[in-house]
């Protein structure tokens, strides 16, 4: 399937917080520009692989539930990764249901609906050709606080028209035979520091003892946790210094905040530890109410964990294969529109739009 110039998608219902993201805006943190980008970059890279994109092509990030949109200009190949969800494609009086973790084609004029997300708070919807909004400072990621990047620097709204780039790949839709497990292990690995010495031994013991719960104060900037209170040697304030994604800062309240992709570039609260990059995708998937503990590892162990994760991603991408599982008809919709004729076999690949 080739995507013609002029292809796009028009948002009908945006979902709770749907944004355009990529792997983030790098190289401007010294000027105060945050990185932003996908909360779950592993899901983003797999979604892009499923539609034949480069791993850093811009995607649509869904939170809690995905958008509904109309395919405009030309057919699109799409794939959702990072959460389980039911995806329905309606066109010409026919409705098909697709799962996550596989590519599917939607003809021009089709209505695509991404249902509620299961197993994760966020998911990546990739489109062959990538979301082709204009890059700002080298990235298409939405900076919600700075109000730039993505589509007009804000979450998507009904009526928005997103341009799609020209797709390189042609051929059968791909699927991921074994989706990565989404269930949270309950543990995030951290490297202690850089201000671990701002806390008492009891404070560090409380941090590593846990458990903590993700509170409702959780967004793309960070998640405030509730749990055992920290004790400081002097106080929470430090001379402001740089923040890495995954830094866990502890303000005077003693309740830690895990900083995520939209975090400020520098901050003035002591940072007890940093979540290792291999566990950041899992942190990005957490929802309020999740319970977690922290376990300390060395820098060398953190780097090894990241190499293992990269090997797993490469292995997953290597297993992508043409779709073999049958498309299931959306029976509820079919009954509703009285289209069931008994002539369609659910055991064979169905090409109702050809």
């Amino acid at each position: 399937m080739n995507t013609a110039p002029g292809a796009g998608l028009r948002i009908l219902q945006p979902g709770p917080q749907t944004t355009v993201q990529d792997l983030g805006r790098k190289g401007h943190q010294a000027l105060g520009v945050p990185v932003c980008g996908a909360l779950d970059p592993v899901a983003m890279r797999l979604a892009n692989a499923l539609v034949g994109n480069a791993e850093d092509a811009a995607i649509i990030e869904c939170r809690l539930a995905g958008p509904a949109f109309e395919v405009t200009g030309a057919p699109l190949r799409l794939a959702l990764a990072g959460a389980e969800a039911t995806i329905t494609v309606e066109a010409g009086g026919t409705s098909l249901a697709f799962p996550a973790w596989r590519g599917f084609d939607a003809p021009t004029g089709a209505t695509v609906r991404i249902g509620p997300l299961r197993g994760s708070g966020c998911a990546s919807l990739a489109v062959a050709g990538g979301i082709a909004v204009a890059p700002v400072l080298g990235s298409r990621a939405t900076d919600l606080k700075g109000r730039f990047g993505g589509h007009e620097g804000r979450p998507l709204a009904a009526g928005d028209l997103l341009p799609v780039g020209t797709a390189a790949a042609d051929g059968p839709c791909l699927e991921l035979p074994a989706a990565p497990p989404l269930a949270f292990s309950g543990t995030l690995r951290v490297v202690l520091g850089p201000q671990a010495d701002a806390f008492t031994d009891e404070g560090i013991a409380a941090f590593l003892g846990g458990p903590f719960e993700v509170t409702r104060e959780a967004d793309r900037m960070g998640m405030r946790l509730s749990g055992p209170a920290f004790s400081f040697v002097r106080g929470a304030d430090i001379v402001s210094d740089g923040i890495a994604t995954g830094s866990i800062q502890v303000p005077g309240s003693g309740q830690p905040i895990v900083l995520l992709v939209d975090h400020q570039t520098i901050g003035g609260y002591a940072k007890v530890a940093t979540v290792i990059s291999a566990d950041l995708p899992a942190a990005g998937r957490l929802l309020p109410g999740a319970s977690l503990r922290f376990v300390a590892v060395s820098v060398a162990e953190a780097e090894e964990a990241r190499r293992q994760l990269e090997a797993e991603i490469a292995r997953s991408i290597g297993t992508l294969a043409p779709v073999r599982s049958p498309v299931s008809l959306d029976e509820a919709a079919l009954y509703a529109s009285n289209l069931i004729s008994g002539a369609v076999s659910a055991l064979e690949e169905v090409h109702p739009f050809d």
């Binding site: 790098k26 190289g27 401007h28 943190q29 010294a30 000027l31 105060g32 520009v33 945050p34 700002v136 400072l137 900076d143 606080k145 700075g146 109000r147 730039f148 990047g149 850089p194 001379v239 402001s240 210094d241 740089g242 923040i243 890495a244 400020q264 570039t265 520098i266 901050g267 990059s277 820098v299 060398a300 953190a302 780097e303 990241r306 190499r307 990269e310």
Partner: protein, 214 residues
């Protein structure tokens, strides 16, 4: 720190993505797929910073500020707390030549120092939920301007219509590290005229040659 950041940017060791220089530390972001912390630390350990004497600013920005009133809602309280007349607070704040030490917190927010010790006050005990863009503020020995609307705990003395961040430009910030900054008190009508010119895209902030100013 800025010298170290500039050296690293000019010849980054493999794996280094970018650095964030701050008052007394330098954060190095690296890609663990390319290099480990140990090898990067070894490469940076041999970074020659050269002459570390502080140079005079190459350029000095002169920012028009409307002090007090709605533009600077904390000016009166600040003056009362310090036991100074408001005019004296304005004179001390606008009399200083500041340096851009660190940019961060918000895109285009610059930590400018050093503030006159007579204006040294802690941050507000209860931060504001919304600080308007352009607010000129002080905290401890620092001053700065909020480039976009944001929560904030600094004391607001005035407002400048100048824009500090434009994502469509490269670099996106008005200031570069080490730039000099001065504040020039203006009246409400000049503030309004400059604000209108900024909105039209017809205002170039005043910038002086730092060497000539010495």
């Amino acid at each position: 720190m800025h010298r170290a950041a500039a050296r690293i940017a000019a010849d980054p060791p493999p794996g280094v993505i970018e650095t964030v220089p701050t008052f007394r530390s330098l954060l190095v972001h690296y890609d663990p797929r390319i290099a480990g912390a140990e090898s990067i630390q070894a490469a940076l350990g041999s970074c020659d910073l050269g002459d570390t004497a502080t140079a005079a600013p190459a350029r000095i920005w002169v920012l028009p500020v409307l002090y007090g009133g709605e533009a600077g809602p904390d000016l009166a309280d600040t003056a009362t707390t310090l036991g100074l007349p408001p005019e004296e607070v304005v004179a001390l704040h606008s009399g200083g030549l500041y340096r851009v030490y660190v940019q961060g917190f918000l895109p285009g927010f610059a930590y400018l120092g050093d503030l006159d010790p007579r204006l040294d006050l802690p941050r507000l005990s209860t931060p504001r939920v919304r600080v308007p863009p352009g607010s000129v503020a002080i905290a401890q020995r620092m001053t700065g301007v909020y480039p976009i609307e944001s929560p904030g705990g600094w004391r607001l003395l005035g407002n400048t219509p100048v824009r500090f961040f434009d994502a469509a430009r490269e670099p996106p910030t008005l200031f570069a590290p080490g730039d000099g900054v001065q504040f020039r008190p203006v009246m409400a009508d000049e503030h309004a005229a400059i604000r209108a010119a900024v909105a039209r895209g017809a205002y170039e902030p005043e910038c002086r040659d730092g060497e000539a100013a010495r």
